[in-house]
């Protein structure tokens, strides 16, 4: 019975995500109507542009890749009760470090060079995450503030680097191109899609494995769900938090590293349209499940791709996609509202705690 009710609970979080998403779509339609656009037309263009052909679907996957990484990064922090708003900055660190390694001609075979770039990116991101964890554990600094501030420092420092010491020839603030051999290969000839998406999916599987099967995952769950009980059980709460931030930063760093070695091909100033923050919406829609994040990343990726297509086809501004994304977060973070709407609350109460 309770197995069933557990499953019901889990399903209900999926149901909540689904309903939230549909509500977000619905409300965005209403907003479009108010602004004098035709929502049905808009959505058919978005679907057409994101899923309508092999090319559009590969574009969707390209857009989804960074979102999957940042979604995972944010989720890991959150599991350990940390709100890592620094995913964006940690991603920049990873991207910059990977670009530096990647553009330096090294006497290495291409694959090894690529690996070196990715690993250095992971380390760079990880360390900038761990710094936050250290400040939190050692001095009790609120991670929301330290990450937000560190974002400014990292992003502006990277901007300085690509504007002055590392600036490549030309007008654009960007580094030199990454050595050809150290770029991630294309998956299908003739399409832009690289193996980056595969790395993202593998990352999700690894995260799932770690959370469910390892000591570290177990301790993160315990700390996140009841810090005092974890402490009582001899788990070093501070250590777990630091490791979680290291892990979160490493995923963000991998995101940056994968970006510069695939679609970016170099570090370009301001390459991210806020991937780090979109990760929050992705994790929210996925209700923090690793595989859910892959799916949510693809959904948001599709919206983004579709929106670009929409921009070419009509007057409707692409910002509508941001509106949808924001609406999703609002609805997902109000599970009680959704439960009340679908009447799941009553079902849950009846099923879970019978006679008391």
């Amino acid at each position: 019975m309770s197995k069933l009710s557990n499953r019901l609970m889990q399903t209900s979080s999926i149901v909540i995500s689904l309903v939230s998403f549909m509500l977000a779509i619905l409300v965005s339609c209403i907003i479009m109507l108010f602004c004098g656009y035709d929502p049905i037309f808009a959505y058919s263009v978005i679907i057409e542009g994101s899923l309508g052909s092999v090319r559009s679907f590969t574009n969707t996957l390209i857009q989804a890749t960074p979102l999957i990484f940042t979604g995972l990064a944010f989720m890991i922090g959150k599991k350990a009760t940390l709100i890592n708003l620094g995913v964006e900055g940690q991603m920049y660190t990873g991207a910059m470090v990977a670009a530096l390694v990647g553009m330096t001609p090294l006497p290495l075979p291409g694959v090894i060079h690529l690996l070196a770039a990715l690993i250095c990116g992971v380390i760079g991101g990880g360390l900038s995450g761990a710094l936050i964890g250290f400040l939190k554990v050692k001095f009790g600094s609120n991670e929301v503030i330290t990450t937000t501030m560190l974002n400014f420092i990292i992003i502006n420092f990277c901007d300085y680097l690509v504007n002055y010491p590392l600036k490549a020839e030309g007008a654009v603030a960007q580094t030199n191109k990454i050595v050809e051999g150290a770029l991630l290969g294309k998956m299908i000839p003739g399409y832009q899609l690289t193996w980056a998406i595969v790395i993202a999916v593998i990352a999700a599987l690894v995260v799932k494995f770690i959370l469910e099967k390892t000591r570290f995952g177990y301790e993160i769950r315990a700390v996140g769900l009841n810090m005092k009980a974890a402490e009582t059980a001899g788990i070093k709460v501070g250590g777990v938090m630091m490791k979680a931030m290291l892990f979160s930063g490493a995923l963000a760093g991998l995101c940056g590293a994968v970006h510069v070695t695939s679609v970016g091909k170099r570090f370009i100033s301001g390459f991210s349209p806020g991937y780090g923050f979109s990760g929050i919406s992705v994790a929210a829609l996925a209700s923090d499940s690793p595989l859910g994040i892959v799916l949510a990343g693809i959904i948001f990726g599709a919206l983004k791709t579709g929106a670009m297509y929409l921009n070419m086809m009509s007057q409707i501004p692409t910002e509508f996609v941001s509106v949808i994304q924001a609406l999703v977060v609002i609805f997902v973070s109000a599970p009680l509202l959704i439960r009340a709407l679908i009447g799941a609350d009553r079902k849950k109460k009846g099923g879970q705690r019978h006679a008391e």
């Binding site: 019975m1 309770s2 197995k3 009710s5 557990n6 099967k213 390892t214 000591r215 570290f216 177990y218 301790e219 769950r221 315990a222 769900l225 009841n226 005092k228 009980a229 974890a230 402490e231 009582t232 059980a233 001899g234 788990i235 070093k236 009846g350 099923g351 879970q352 705690r353 019978h354 006679a355 008391e356």
Partner: protein, 507 residues
């Protein structure tokens, strides 16, 4: 005429019939105790009466009139008030503000605060609630907060009061004060239903009792003449229950766990002022005391959660320093005071909770990987052995009743075969059956030669289990005596600092 009549009530949940053709009546000006184990249907029956859930069959009459109660709002209108175990008060607001919320007396557009305060103070004085209407709720003790909840119900016109386990959170003194208030309310013709596990309290306060077992009413409105706690326990559990499990220890060993001169201060206040105790192998040393006299801090120091300012802890010949992990590794088991804050991660599975703190044992962990198979079979074994009522060990702990949650904590620690046990409030909020079981387990471990420190606010528990009893008062151990020599009265005096004060005068 009866205030409440519930006739032939049935409530069916998907897989359980929580309430099965139950009839219940409450007389005017009566205190009626509703007894039953966790899951017997007491709470469901009361939720029906308070409109929080609706019955599938049956009829409810209030003051003789058939009614339909669809929501707590209906219930309040019918003069029914309920005080839940968990209070619903805003800590930063005053007593008055908490009480009048939603029922504010008005003066034009404004709330008439003066009038409200006056009304409330009148109620307070009339029933001897003994609180200040202007005090902020956060400044009140738990017992006082509870009185605010009762006041709230009365202010809203309740003549029928449902108190859900009101004494579970109270100190013995506060229980006495609550009973005084209940009697005052009764003299004012108010009718009270009290849900409780505590049999002694039932005998002390109730006029009649009703007993639920597995959703059925096994005793309805029994007057309390010539009834003993043992009779009550038997009615609840449906078999003979050994309430006061005294068993002499036969296996008393050498001094083993030694605490010497532990001192701890917190924000300039001395919370532990030189505590020294020695526990022998095969002995239960009970610590009696009113909550807040240093017990929590002592437990934290003895389990490595907090460092004492000075003093030593030794096990055999080895002195122990370090954090909670070190203490666990030294086979010092810990049953925390509050299972939901320190004991369990309630949103994790029973299985995960059964290894919490021991999850790095080679049996469960190899090269950083959890050994799922071993953990599963270990957990299934524990569920069987400790009779944890659940379909399987993969369920969340939050789906268990309080008693079964406590069994998870007990199973976790006991199965690891600790040499020393720090046991705090082992049976708080658990039903009679689980309590009996836990007591037996404790005694068995003692007989196996473990050194056990038992800290409990329940004096009966301390007295029935301990071989020796120490009394803690104001961060000091004020007496240690053989359990046989300790009578309730003198312990009570020691616990409130009475005897010691006299002792000091004499010196």
């Amino acid at each position: 005429m009866n205030s409440v009549e519930m006739i032939d009530i049935v409530k069916q949940y998907p897989l359980v019939r929580a309430v099965d053709h139950v009839s219940f009546s409450l007389g005017e000006g009566e205190i009626h105790s509703l007894l039953g184990e966790n899951g017997a249907g007491k709470s469901t029956l009361m939720k029906i009466l308070y409109g929080m859930t609706s019955p599938d069959e049956g009829e409810i009459r209030i003051n003789g009139k058939p009614v339909k109660i669809k929501s707590p709002k209906d219930a309040i209108q019918l003069g029914i008030g309920m005080v839940h175990q968990h209070f619903m008060l805003s800590p930063v607001m005053s007593v008055t503000e908490n009480i009048i919320v939603n029922h504010e007396p008005r003066k034009g557009w404004l709330i008439d605060e003066k009038k409200a305060e006056q009304q409330i103070q009148e109620l307070i004085d009339r029933f001897h609630f003994n609180i200040d209407a202007r005090a902020k709720v956060q400044e009140l003790s738990v017992g006082e907060q509870q009185r605010v909840e009762i006041l709230k119900a009365i202010y809203r016109g309740a003549n029928i009061l449902i108190l859900d386990e009101p004494t579970a959170v109270l100190t013995p003194q506060e229980v006495e004060e609550l009973f005084v208030i209940m009697r005052n309310l009764k003299n004012d013709k108010k009718s009270i239903i009290i849900i409780t596990h505590k049999l002694k309290e039932t005998l002390a306060i109730a006029d009649r009792i009703s007993v639920l077992r597995d959703g059925k009413m096994v005793e309805s409105g029994l007057p309390l003449d010539n009834v003993t706690t043992n009779d009550l326990a038997q009615m609840m559990v449906g078999r003979e229950v050994e309430l006061n499990v005294r068993r002499k220890n036969t296996n008393l060993g050498e001094d083993y766990f030694r605490i010497q001169d532990l001192k701890l201060s917190e924000r300039g206040v001395q919370v532990l002022s030189g505590i020294s105790l020695t526990i022998r192998k095969g002995e239960i040393l009970g610590i009696a005391g009113i909550e807040g006299n240093g017990q929590t801090e002592l437990i934290e120091v003895l389990t490595g959660l907090r460092k004492a300012d000075s003093g030593t802890i030794t096990m055999g010949l080895e002195s122990i320093h370090g954090d909670a992990h070190t203490f666990l590794k030294h086979k010092i088991g810990h049953i925390p005071e509050d299972r939901l804050t320190r004991g369990l991660v309630s949103e994790m599975s029973i299985e995960d909770n059964l290894i919490l703190g021991y999850h790095d044992a080679p049996q469960f962990l190899k090269q950083g990987m959890l050994q799922k198979k071993n953990i599963q079979s270990y957990a299934d074994e524990a569920v069987n052995e400790y009779m944890i009522k659940t379909p399987n060990a993969r369920e969340l702990v939050s789906s268990l009743s309080g008693g079964n949650q406590q069994k998870v904590v007990i199973a976790r620690v006991f199965k690891q075969n600790p040499d020393v046990l720090i046991v705090a409030q082992p049976t708080r909020g658990v039903d009679v059956g689980a309590m009996e079981y836990i007591h037996h387990q404790l005694l068995q471990l003692r007989d196996e030669g473990k050194a056990i420190l038992l800290i409990s606010a329940d004096l009966d528990e301390v007295r029935s289990l301990s071989d020796r009893i120490a009394v803690i008062y104001d961060g000091r151990i004020v007496s240690v005596q053989q359990a046989e020599d300790a009578d309730e009265l003198s312990l009570g005096l020691l616990m409130t600092g009475g005897k010691e004060a006299r002792h000091e005068q004499a010196v």
